[in-house]
């Protein structure tokens, strides 16, 4: 399984802070994003936001990056700390 986390405005938009996705058939972050987008209109619209950032195993990453069973992936809006 791939653990997926959502933060801040995206978490509220989806009304979901985490879920697990079957790793089979998902080889990149971009593909994982497509799988999540197919969960419904809210998911499709929220995940279509091009400004969203992605992390894999707690490092900023991109759609072409490989993802495998046991990874922790996160989607979130651009950060605003400091």
């Amino acid at each position: 399984m791939i653990k997926v986390l959502f933060f801040a405005g995206l978490r509220e938009q989806l009304d979901c802070d985490s879920l697990e996705v079957e790793a089979g058939g998902v080889s990149t972050l971009g593909e994982l994003r497509e799988v999540l987008s197919s969960k419904g209109d809210t998911w499709r619209v929220a995940l279509a936001n091009e400004r969203l950032q992605m992390a894999c195993n707690q490092e900023l990453s991109h759609g072409d990056a490989a993802v495998r069973d046991g990874d922790e992936v996160a989607f979130f809006p651009p950060v605003t700390g400091g």
């Binding site: 986390l5 933060f7 801040a8 405005g9 400004r51 992390a55 707690q58 490092e59 900023l60 996160a74 979130f76 809006p77 651009p78 950060v79 605003t80 700390g81 400091g82």
Partner: protein, 166 residues
């Protein structure tokens, strides 16, 4: 070898005590640069209506909620501090970032650097703040009167472009 210390916490911190800790038994570094970020009273209309009649027995009214990604927040700050320590000769690096509910005036972030030389300390301090703003997973939400909904702060393009000078 730079002494790097990263803390992500809900509790407040004392900038004076942090300065003293940076200087303790540290006579080799002649320069100390410190940046402290505080919560701005960014919504005057809101605070004017909520502050005077706060029923919370005089305690400060929270105006901001800071969300973070536990684990990644610490590792992102650590990676930024290590990058700074590779670029400049630094003695000590201390970074503190808070999360949770904060009131106007509260400290949010502390970056303290010691170095043998002024320019290295100043540059490293600015470098860490610039990267923290665009790379560390924290999100600010301004709270509205009544404390129900709130508004997520939008990331500024100027924060991202600030990285180009490094």
């Amino acid at each position: 070898m730079t002494d790097i210390s990263i803390v992500v916490q809900a509790e407040g911190f004392d900038p004076g005590a942090e300065y003293n800790a940076l200087r303790r038994e540290n006579t080799s570094d002649g320069a100390t640069a410190i940046f402290v970020g505080n919560v701005r009273d960014f919504s005057p209309a809101i605070s004017a209506t909520t502050a005077p009649d706060s029923s919370s027995s005089g305690s400060a009214v929270a105006v901001m909620e800071l969300e973070h990604y536990p684990g990644m927040a610490e590792s992102a700050l650590d990676a930024i501090a290590r990058e700074a320590a590779e670029r400049w000769p630094l003695g000590r690096v201390r970074v503190i970032h808070r999360y949770g509910r904060l009131a106007a005036g509260d400290e949010i972030v502390f970056v303290g650097i010691t170095s043998a030389h002024r320019q290295a300390a100043l540059d490293a301090c600015a470098f860490i703040m610039d990267f923290l703003k665009s790379r560390a997973p924290f999100w600010k939400k301004e709270l509205t009167a009544g404390g129900s909904a709130g508004q997520w702060v939008e990331a500024k393009k100027s924060d991202e472009s600030a990285l180009q000078k490094w």
